[in-house]
Amino acid sequence: MGGLEDFGPVELEADEPVFHTDWERRAAGLKMAVWFGGHTSGRSRYCTERMDPGWYLVSPYYEHWVTATATELVEAGLITRQELADRLGSAFAVSRPDRAPRLTDPGPSSDRHRYAVGDEVRVRDFHTLGHTRAPRYVRGKRGTVVRLDGVFSLPDVHVHCDRRRDEPTYSVRFEASELWGAAGDPVHVDLWESYLEDAGE
């Protein structure tokens, strides 16, 4: 969502409770129980991202959790939409279908950072049907590596593949002029190595 306009002011709530209603409490607990119980496959965020956009933007946060959990479990074959509908008395809304192809080859893993602090890099300008953690507002943009982080499973692969691909991660600093074409304050984004390429000239 970074850089989108016209969402208006941030609405603060004084003394906000952790949960506002009992359904939020149950939704949070059930999502975490399913997650911590090992019944999910790391696809929760991708399931959230496939909610109908109009619904996603206007629904409360914990409704995203309920929907993603139901979607993930349906897609994993642990429950069916029919079972949900039978109990609900009408269709149980889930996220839109996964349109991305399944990957058979996760590609090569690496545990050695290719870039060093201070290196100039560019985020590859790619547009996937599937899941990614490369925010749209930094794709194609030049930045500077400011921190080397750990080696982690690349979500773009493990969401769509039975195997995983581990890669080094980085924190990369982007100047406001590069991102927005005007002076301002810098933004640092955490990125997997295969999102990056040499900055070139």
Partner: protein, 197 residues
């Protein structure tokens, strides 16, 4: 509209959907009601910004701890007994007279649960997620956090596995103040970077 489209938008209250999903998962043996209760109790009452405040207060009074915290946030936070899910890879960002740090997750809602608990609604809202990277100075001012023109604002988008905690500057509170009293001064918002103390 196609039948499929109707299935992709809710026609029932979310309360009913939560109830149905929970009941089905319990019936299938995927979920245990007691586990849900325990998790809710933990995240509603046992964990929250009071944890992060202890970390900050310790860093203020103990320069060696502060150095360890900035060098390896996860390990230093674990010294105080805090860690776990959504806090496995912690980086602590130090505010100075020249630099003000602020944290956002533009993709979703990444947040350091072991030290701050579950995030407030505004942190997960489209206005915060869309605007904090684009116009941080304006958003901070709107939120009551004025940052001087001579101070660089550094925005950190937690888009991978690292979770961030901001170490706010210690307010003027006299030298004789206890660690506990200092912790009481630390707010959740100051550790996200949307407030100064």
């Amino acid at each position: 509209m196609s039948e499929d489209h109707h299935h992709r938008l809710p026609t029932t209250p979310v309360e009913a959907r939560v109830e149905v999903l929970e009941a089905l998962l319990i019936e299938k043996g995927i979920l245990d009601a007691g586990t849900v209760d325990g998790l809710v109790e933990y995240y509603e009452h046992q964990v929250g910004p009071m944890n992060g405040a202890k970390v900050v207060a310790r860093a203020w009074i103990d320069p060696d701890y502060c150095a360890r915290l900035l060098a390896d946030g996860t390990a230093a936070i674990a010294e105080l007994g805090f860690g776990g899910v959504e806090g496995e890879h912690m980086v602590v960002l130090e505010n100075t007279p020249q630099v003000h740090n602020v944290v956002v997750c533009t993709l979703c809602s990444c947040y350091p649960w072991p030290v701050l608990g579950l995030p407030p609604n505004w942190y997960k809202s489209p206005p915060y997620r869309s605007r904090m990277v684009r116009e941080p100075r304006v958003v901070l001012a709107e939120m009551g956090c004025a940052v001087g023109d001579d101070v660089e604002i550094r925005v950190w988008d937690s888009s991978a596995e690292v979770r961030y905690l901001v170490l706010p500057m210690r307010p003027e509170a006299g030298e004789a103040v206890s660690e506990t009293a200092l912790a009481d001064l630390v707010t959740r918002d100051s550790m996200i970077g949307v407030a100064r103390l």
